[in-house]
């Protein structure tokens, strides 16, 4: 294991891998800084460019991007009072008041440093869990993996808002869309309507770009004006004070990071919840908490530490069980599949070096992202003040260029448009979109494991103790979710 970890580090330090990781970090920073765009959109934009790439550089680029989004999204939260992504909403509570008091530099440096430590805690946890979880994961057979995927789907449904059934319905819609095209176990084409393009199914990159990036961009354009309009990027100073704050509040940094990892580990929870949870706990458990909400630096440190640590936690179920816990990890999972990898037991059995490469990239990209944010803060902050109509043509072009690379046919562009319109309409009807993508990505694993289970074990696998246990947890979680949502509604 130690030798494999050392080899993975050497692999990452190869110039081509480092260069692609830095490229990913830059894209992640830009995406994080632009209000409204997040890790899901950023990964969607990168996904089409993976075709033909080697595994090492491609993984470095993807993880490099995902690792720094929640570091860079701090800029708009603190300087403009607008969240850069869903994970930085709680930072506004105290970060923006600090900026208004002229302490933007202090807030930013504290945020970057705690983000960096949070990210490192996430990577270390992932590294430590790997040898412990490995024997457990390897003991899982197709029936258990099928049930785990169902558990992942049900939790995504439950945790996607106050209408859990609707979330589950969206996940099943993702499964149905993924069923379009050739059946994996037999030469038969399903739901293709004799359209040649659909014979291979809808490519993940086209689907992710259409579902997330297009509705997001249309909404930004419809809003018309910049989120930053009416505000100015404040003068940034007071860096050292922020660094000292983090050192003084080191226990809070560690505690929030551990919370972030734990929340990230639970599929479907992550994203928008972790920063509020961390902020709430910090406010409730800290001494002299009356300053929270008015510009307390602890209100910046806690959410920033936890939202970066969450990424490491979210990678545990993604890599070890092939269960994505969020839209971002769903795209990442799809990206790994595009690269010929099979997340799940096979990933740590046959591709341990690449699994460790992911962990190293996560750690190094976090450090690099935080340092770059510190160094380029003045320049990067200005990006957030651009109007959507200035960004839109560039993003439209990147999206279409990316979509076309999937199968290099006009069908990709039309599919992008159709999926984009579907996403836009569903968003208007308040149907959550991330579960659709998670269902779409999990479909192949679900179908494969269901097929193997049925053909190999008949229906006797349904009586296996582990299957019953996971099934009971799934049913229990579903009932609990429905009851909680009913309570919330009353």
């Amino acid at each position: 294991m130690i030798q494999a970890a050392f080899q993975a580090l050497l692999l990452l330090l190869e110039p081509s891998n480092l260069a692609f990781m830095l490229g990913g970090v830059v894209v992640g920073m830009v995406v994080g800084v632009l209000p409204g765009l997040g890790g899901t959109v950023g990964l969607s934009l990168l996904l089409p460019f993976l075709f033909g790439m080697e595994q090492g550089p491609a993984i470095a680029m993807l993880i490099g991007m995902a690792a720094v989004v929640h570091t860079a999204d701090t800029f708009p939260s603190i300087l403009l009072g607008a969240p850069g992504s869903s994970g930085s909403q709680a930072t506004i509570m105290d970060g923006y008041p600090l900026a208004q008091k002229g302490q933007a530099g202090r807030a930013l440096s504290a945020a970057f440093l705690s983000s960096m430590f949070g990210g490192l805690v996430g990577a270390i946890t992932l590294l430590l869990i790997l040898p412990i979880a490995r024997p457990l994961v390897l003991a899982f057979r197709s029936p258990e993996l099928f049930m785990l995927a169902l558990l992942g789907l049900s939790m995504v449904g439950i945790l996607s808002g106050d209408r859990p059934i609707r979330g589950a319905l969206m996940a099943v819609l993702g499964l149905l869309i993924a069923a379009i095209g050739a059946a994996p176990a037999t030469p038969f084409y399903r739901f293709t309507f004799d359209n040649l393009y659909l014979y291979d199914g809808i490519p993940l990159a086209v689907f992710a770009l259409g579902l997330f990036a297009m509705p997001e961009l249309l909404d930004l354009l419809v809003k018309g004006k910049s989120i930053a309009e009416g505000t100015t990027t404040r003068r940034v100073s007071g860096w050292r004070e922020g660094l000292r704050d983090v050192i003084r509040e080191r226990l809070l940094v560690v505690r929030s990071a551990v919370l972030g990892v734990a929340v990230g580990f639970i599929p479907g929870l992550g994203g928008a919840v972790v920063d509020w949870l961390s902020y709430g706990i910090a406010a409730q458990t800290s001494k002299n908490s009356e300053g929270f909400g008015k510009g307390d630096i602890r209100g910046v440190i806690a959410p920033e530490s936890s939202n970066n640590a969450k990424e490491g936690g979210a990678l545990i179920p993604t890599l070890l069980f092939g269960i994505p816990g969020s839209g971002t990890t769903a795209i990442l999972l799809g990206g790994l599949v595009l690269l010929g990898l099979q997340p799940g037991p096979r990933m740590i059995r046959g591709d341990l070096d690449l699994t460790l490469l992911i962990i190293w990239t996560l750690a190094i990209a976090n450090v690099f992202g935080a340092l770059t944010c510190l160094l380029l803060s003045g320049l990067v902050a200005r990006l957030a003040t651009l109007r959507p109509s200035v960004l839109a043509p560039f993003l439209f072009v990147i999206m279409l260029a990316g979509a076309f690379q999937s199968s290099r046919s006009w069908g990709d562009m039309w599919a992008f448009l159709v999926v984009g319109l579907m996403g836009w309409v569903l968003r208007r009807l308040r149907f959550p979109l991330p579960p659709i993508l998670i269902g779409f990505v999990l479909a192949a694993s679900i179908e494969r494991n269901l097929f193997i289970s049925v053909t190999r074990y008949g229906w006797s696998w349904l009586t296996a103790p582990a299957v019953i246990a996971i099934g009971a947890i799934t049913v229990g979680m579903t009932i609990l979710g429905v009851r909680l949502s009913q309570k919330a509604a009353t």
């Binding site: 460019f49 033909g52 790439m53 808002g161 106050d162 209408r163 059934i165 609707r166 589950a168 319905l169 099943v172 819609l173 499964l175 149905l176 069923a179 059946a183 176990a185 037999t186 038969f188 399903r190 739901f191 249309l218 354009l221 419809v222 018309g224 109007r387 109509s389 200035v390 839109a392 043509p393 560039f394 439209f396 072009v397 279409l400 260029a401 076309f404 690379q405 290099r408 006009w410 562009m413 448009l417 319109l421 836009w424 309409v425 569903l426 208007r428 009807l429 308040r430 149907f431 959550p432 479909a443 679900i446 179908e447 269901l450 097929f451 049925v454 509604a489 009353t490």
Partner: protein
């Protein structure tokens, strides 16, 4: 940006019908291709029905006279219909821009179309100065050419392609 309850019910009913149709269609598939879509079709139909019933129950039990939305606990208002119409009409021009880009791509090739589209969009929608429009357009042109060579990207075939004729692609 809100739609009234009727829109959600129409959406749910449509989804339920799609799932039911998919489940029924899968009965004609060979058994190896049938298991998964049949499972999905049945599960989707049941969930759509459950959500539909849940919405109806919420209304009939007067938990709330209005439906709670998914992300925001804000009630629907009569003005929502006007809101969604406005929203749609404001989005429509951008969809036309996208269709315009598709048409341009079919006519002059992707890279040239992207450059023209960028300049036109920046000028018309963002009201940016002509000089900046041209700089933006050239930046797109240059980036696509460099990225195309670096990642061996291909672009959609078009009616005419000036850049291909010039040997730049």
């Amino acid at each position: 940006m809100r739609l009234p309850e009727r829109g959600q019910i129409i959406g749910l009913t449509s989804l339920g019908l799609i799932f039911a149709a998919a489940g029924a269609a899968s009965l004609t598939f060979p058994i190896r291709a049938q298991i998964f879509p049949l499972f999905v079709g049945i599960l989707g139909t049941v969930l759509a029905l459950a959500e539909w019933v849940s919405m109806r129950r919420m209304r009939s039990h007067h938990h709330a006279k209005v439906l709670h939305t998914n992300n925001e606990h804000e009630p629907w208002k009569p003005s929502d219909i006007a809101g969604i119409r406005t929203d749609f009409y404001r989005t429509l021009p951008y969809l036309f821009w996208l269709l315009g880009l598709f048409t341009l791509v079919a006519l002059v090739g992707f890279v040239s179309a992207a450059a023209i589209f960028t300049a036109a969009f920046l000028r018309r929608e963002a009201n940016v100065r002509w000089t900046l429009c041209i700089v933006g357009s050239l930046a797109v042109l240059g980036s696509l050419l460099v990225l195309g060579n670096l990642f061996s990207l291909r672009w959609p075939l078009s009616f005419v392609d000036p850049l291909r004729a010039l040997g730049l692609l």
